[in-house]
Symmetry: C2
Subunit: 407 residues, 2 copies
């Protein structure tokens, strides 16, 4: 497997575009298109929030009932959530419009929205935007980058990646993009993530791969503990790599899963590190846990702790808060048997063991906690299971961004 330049247009036969439609934001790209020249197997995972945005309901239906998908239309600025019947009608109209502009059936068009909840989409500007997107679409890396930029809300940087790998002697490409960066606490899915691949893979195996993957990638990140109404992760596979079709488990599936995990983990880390107001990526790796489930719960509890996140922002080695967060996670363990380490840059220090503080240097700890990527390593000494979760620190800017998001 090799990481290459590009994102959602890296795989054969995929085009994209990002344009200004003034849905809500002014003077910036706010609509994106992903288009495959041929029909694709599609799979998706969606928010577990009971309050599901209209585009989530639309996409679930397409992924579950349509035989294929061929395009995704995305807008930022307005989430089309809590918008009732009018919101659903808008999804239908978007898909209809995109279908006509692209010459494909409306039920092969997926839609996604992100932004403020409760406002209706301005359908005239959306359909005008779709016309522009259809005109602008291209298979260049620049077109993919435009799309990655258009889906951003409070993100400070676009997030995209592409890799190539071999299956049955054929070179397969997988690319992706995603956006954060608030209301990020995915549960069975993530905010908005889009993956494209030219792998030949059955819809069933594609859905299986995605479902298995998110548990250890997007579901292991959190910015603020708020599971969005719009979380959507979609993958389109158009088969143009002409590999032997992946229709069951085996070497081809494993290779694909490995590449998928590389891409999703890369994007998940980027999303966490670019969380609203974040100054650092905050990683917690739990090893030696009694079960995989325990490892996940423990790691996620630490990266979700507001007190721990504020301490990381302050570069303060207040490790008691980490022990506290492990303790209320729901997993059972003996605090006397836990070892805790801080890792940052090329340093690692032992902070806690045998039930009390180790004799570490506060100066060294502060230095580690000042790195742009801070890692807490926890050894539970109870078994072989491990898991990693990613979050970010809690800063003044998180409050600033969210105290005044709508104006």
């Amino acid at each position: 497997m090799k990481q290459i330049e590009g994102g959602i247009t890296a795989a054969k036969g995929f085009q994209a575009a990002g344009i200004e439609a003034a849905v809500k934001y002014q003077n910036r790209k706010d609509m994106a298109l992903i288009y495959s020249e041929v029909p694709c197997a599609a799979a998706g995972t969606f928010t577990t929030n009971v309050v599901k945005a209209a585009p989530v309901l639309w996409d679930k239906k397409i992924v579950e009932e349509s035989t294929y998908a061929q395009a995704v239309v995305v807008n930022s600025g307005i989430a089309n959530a809590c918008t009732g019947r009018q919101g659903m009608d808008c999804c239908q109209a978007e898909a209809q419009c995109a279908g006509e502009c692209l010459g494909i059936p409306a039920d092969s068009v997926l839609v996604a929205s992100t932004g403020v909840i409760g406002m209706q989409l301005p359908l005239d500007r959306i359909t005008e935007g779709i016309g522009k997107l259809a005109q602008a679409k291209s298979d260049t890396p620049e077109a993919g980058a435009d799309a990655a930029r258009a889906i951003m809300t409070t993100d400070t940087v676009p997030k995209e990646i592409a890799v190539t790998f071999e299956i049955s002697g054929k070179t397969v490409t997988l690319g992706g993009m995603c956006k954060g960066s608030g209301m990020i606490h995915p549960n069975m899915c993530t905010m908005l993530g889009f993956l494209t691949t030219d792998a030949k893979i059955s819809r069933q195996m594609l859905q299986k791969a995605l479902r298995e993957d998110v548990v250890d990638s997007f579901n292991m990140i959190s910015v603020d503990g708020d599971t969005s109404t719009n979380d959507t992760l979609l993958i389109l596979a158009n088969g143009l790599a002409e590999n032997e079709e992946i229709a069951s488990e085996g070497a081809g599936y494993d290779t694909f899963r490995e590449a998928l995990h590389f891409v999703t983990t890369y994007l998940a880390r980027k999303m966490a590190g670019d969380g609203e107001g974040a100054t650092a990526l905050f990683e917690t790796k739990v090893i030696g846990a009694a079960s995989k489930e325990d490892a996940r719960i423990l790691a996620k509890s630490v990266i979700c702790s507001s007190l721990t996140k504020a301490a990381i922002f302050g570069h303060d080695a207040n490790w008691g808060r980490i022990l506290c967060a492990l303790g209320y996670s729901g997993a059972q363990f003996d605090p006397e048997n836990v070892d805790l380490y801080f890792r940052g840059g090329s340093s690692e220090i032992h902070i806690y063991g045998n039930g009390t503080a180790c004799g570490y240097s506060e100066e060294e700890a502060t230095k580690i906690l000042s790195e742009p990527e801070v890692c807490v390593l926890v050894n539970m000494h109870m078994g072989e299971a491990e898991a990693t979760a990613w979050g970010c620190d809690l800063s003044y800017d998180y409050v600033k961004i969210n105290a005044d998001y709508r104006s």
Copy 2:
């Protein structure tokens, strides 16, 4: 029932003190004593965190195994959590010292600590402080107020209350004090809360009353979602009111429960409203829920949402975040059937119904959200159950306080 002046010294036979012991803080009161002139029935609820501070382990043993208790020694500044064997020895030494100074058995002395995790208590200053406390103790309201001040950490105001009520023709008094204000997300208990009463009540009924009560009082508040290692709620009942002993359910028990709930809810609200960095008390009342459990889960999910809390701080009527928090709470419901109202001062406005925004005035909403007590009322239209939860807004000061707590 009548609210009266005072706190933990209001009930007959209770004395208290608050003094400067320089445990960690300088130039402020940091140790408190509660003392009953006669032995008391004692009950307690404690943190469900797997990582339990030494004083929690000590008190659990006393409450479960000792026939009575007669004093509580509290310090702020250092939590005596994650302190291993040395931490437990310190509790033993504290109780021993207090027992000698007060002329009571060591196993009738409860201890509590709050502050930074991981540091050892300076036993010499603690025992010196206990000597001073034993000297200073008094049954005056001022002595109760001194104690309420001594147990504060990042609290901005002391929190105390007292009420009187009648049982079997006798006037009974119940008083209490508590402290917050960070790492507040009690689960089966609260940070530090101390209640004293001269009611005559059996240990079993006292424990039952406390256990039943916390579910709807202290367990319904959250400042930051972090369940502490030190949460402790203790109640001492010395029987000096000479009412007919409450030894089973009935009118006397109901009256006591009512008074207890008034006191605990008062203290819980005070704790939430004085959460770290808070500028407002944020109340969420859920009515018409399918079950009591659902009502609690829904109300608590809203007051725990970082995004909603930041919006309250910004006086921004970003109600979509409230719908979102209800949606990921775990309770099942149909978003189309929910009604949402904002309440503040003497105003109430209908914000959301029939699946979309109501035509409310943003100006009026902002005015309501600028009140010192903001209430969200949610009607689920599914049944008769209701619950109320209390939190606070999320401000710059929360980050400031917690990015640099230890220095």
